[in-house]
């Protein structure tokens, strides 16, 4: 079975975000970039599926030279090969989805895994877009995944619960935390990954359909008051919530 796993290179969640001077992007100075946390669950599920059914896992990423760090990590975890779609442009979700889908068409996988959300632009729609371009089935925000022949049984998270989905291959699955426990790259994996080639492709892209007019910081919330340091402050807290904030 051929499996594609899409991986993205994003600022670490522990990083402070500052706006660049163009007021349309973030200032990358001093920002540590890491593999998108949700993509680690996608990689794990891709590798587990390969271990059960055989086949190969192709890592696919779109971005700059820097993305190679995340691709190398994916290879070290166990992906067999990798493709980097090179671009330095800031692209919107639709343009990225079309570029990924184009390459996935060449690879012709039965399964595509990716994180349910990239923790930079936070749209949570990439898997759904790619699936619909390719006419693949989709399970987004998956917390469990089982394959039986052609049949997929997967759970997805909804407000206050879960729904169990039945669908079939070919499909795109977007990974939510809880899907599995991602493995660590072994020393052997890291050594083997060094010999794996990252295929690089220049891409042609269409115009963005959505324009960022401005990027800005949210209005910072100011510190309020410390009412006390023990249980004797509780009646005053409840009074403030009722009478001043009027929220309870």
């Amino acid at each position: 079975m051929k499996i594609v796993v899409c991986v993205n290179h994003v600022p670490d969640t522990a990083t402070k975000i500052n706006i660049a001077s163009d007021k349309k992007s973030i200032d990358n100075t001093g920002v540590t970039f890491v593999i998108n946390p949700y993509d680690e669950f996608a990689i794990e599920e891709a590798l587990k599926t390969k271990e059960i059914f055989g086949g190969e896992v192709v890592a696919l990423s779109l971005g700059t030279e820097a993305n190679k760090e995340t691709i190398k990590k994916t290879l070290a975890m166990g992906a067999d090969s990798a493709v980097l779609l090179r671009t330095d442009l800031e692209l919107d979700s639709l343009v990225v989805a079309r570029a990924l889908a184009n390459e996935i068409k060449n690879i012709e996988p039965e399964l595509v895994f990716m994180g349910k959300q990239s923790v930079d632009y936070d749209s949570s729609i990439m898997g759904q877009l790619v699936a619909n371009i390719l006419d693949y089935n989709i399970v987004s925000t998956a917390t469990s995944f089982n394959l039986d022949g052609n049949k997929i049984i997967a759970e997805r998270e909804i407000e206050g619960g879960k729904e169990t989905i039945e669908t079939s291959l070919p499909a795109v699955i977007t990974a939510q935390k809880g899907l599995n426990e991602p493995r660590y790259a072994s020393l052997k994996g890291i050594m083997v990954a060094k010999r794996k080639v990252i295929e690089e492709k220049e891409i042609k892209v269409a115009e963005n359909t959505v324009t960022i007019v401005e990027m800005k910081k949210p209005i910072a919330k100011e510190a309020g008051k410390i009412i006390g340091d023990d249980a004797s402050a509780v009646p005053e807290l409840v009074r403030l919530l009722k009478e001043e904030a009027k929220v309870i």
Binding site: P11, D122, I125, N132, G161, K216, P218, K221, I226, V234
Partner: protein, 320 residues
């Protein structure tokens, strides 16, 4: 600009979701501001009080009905929405950014070949064009965006757009029986935790962190939540320790929330947690470390021992 707006209304178990009422109300405001029409569409089987949506400023709703549509199916719902959208010739589509809305909207965007802007926290008309504000990096930054596409789908973050005043109007309900349903993607069961509120939908959230020391100590968090009609939340540390389910995690690799009141107990306030909750209208922090970053965003704080303060809070809340 807009000559027609369609608002997608979401039902679960035959009940209209509150987040969809927020979408209707905001859609009605935009329709008025741009002097255009708005109508609603809902997919499901038996649905209660559909004409109620008139109260939120939308006077017509089409109900696409079949017993197989009671549960969500991305394949069935996408196909039906696509033909409805094409027939209506609308150019603005509004969804709530829920598990369902965030799944359907991008599918429709591809099928309609139109722009998509998700998780908006503001959607306003400027120079006769819609301008959306959406958080990125879990709220550490905001982007103001415009669509260059002829047609655009916007999804609105739940619990942000206020409903405000409602009228006594009733909506015209058009029921269309659907003959064939595409169930290549089918929900075979739904597991709901009874009476449990989701953090993204709650007006009040009571959250616990590593300061609670052990999973059994979340009992008092649940008790405060129950007394306030609140949802329970958790920090990443509490989730990663296996004390709480991931569905409760607030922060950058969990959920971004903006309730009226957020009570953080034993949460120090790591940057990725603050990003996910600092747009809450009121924040209360209970933490024994008075220098914890959580106090930097809290409206009211008690810098003391949660194991004394929370039981006292439970007693105080029980008084009335």
């Amino acid at each position: 600009m807009a000559n027609k707006i369609i608002a997608f209304v979401e039902q679960r178990d035959g009940e209209i979701k509150k987040s969809s009422l927020e979408v209707l109300k905001q859609g009605a405001v935009i329709a008025t501001d741009t002097n255009t029409s708005i109508e609603a569409v809902i997919i499901g089987n038996e649905i209660n009080n559909l004409d109620d949506i008139g109260k939120y400023g939308v006077s017509k709703i089409t109900h696409l009905k079949n017993s197989e549509l009671a549960n969500y199916s991305v394949s069935a719902y996408t196909a039906l929405l696509l033909s409805f959208a094409e027939e209506s010739e609308a150019n603005i589509f509004l969804f709530a950014n829920t598990a369902m809305g965030n799944d359907l909207a991008p599918a429709l965007a591809i099928k309609l070949n139109c722009g998509i802007v998700v998780d908006c926290i503001e959607l306003e008309v400027e120079d006769n064009q819609l301008v959306a504000t959406r958080p990125v990096y879990a709220g550490k930054a905001l982007t103001v965006v415009k669509s260059n596409s002829e047609k655009t789908i916007f999804t609105l973050r739940p619990n942000v757009f206020t409903i405000g005043n409602i009228s006594d109007e009733r909506a015209e309900v058009i029921v269309k029986d659907i003959a064939e349903v595409n169930l290549t993607n089918k929900v075979i069961s739904v597991a709901k935790v009874e009476g449990k509120l989701d953090v993204t939908e709650a007006d009040i959230i009571v959250s616990g962190g590593r300061g609670l020391k052990a999973p059994e100590n979340f009992g008092m968090i649940e008790e405060v939540a129950s007394l306030l009609g609140a949802a329970t939340g958790a920090s990443r540390a509490a989730v990663d320790a296996g004390w709480r389910p991931h569905s409760e995690q607030v922060g950058q690799t969990g959920k971004t929330v903006s309730p009226n009141l957020y009570i953080a107990v034993g949460i120090s306030g790591a940057i990725q947690h603050l990003a996910g909750m600092q747009s809450s209208k009121y924040i209360v922090a209970i933490n024994k470390d008075k220098d914890a970053p959580i106090f930097g965003v809290a409206d009211y704080g008690i810098a003391g021992d949660a194991f004394e303060i929370v039981p006292a809070l439970i007693e105080e809340l029980k008084k009335k």
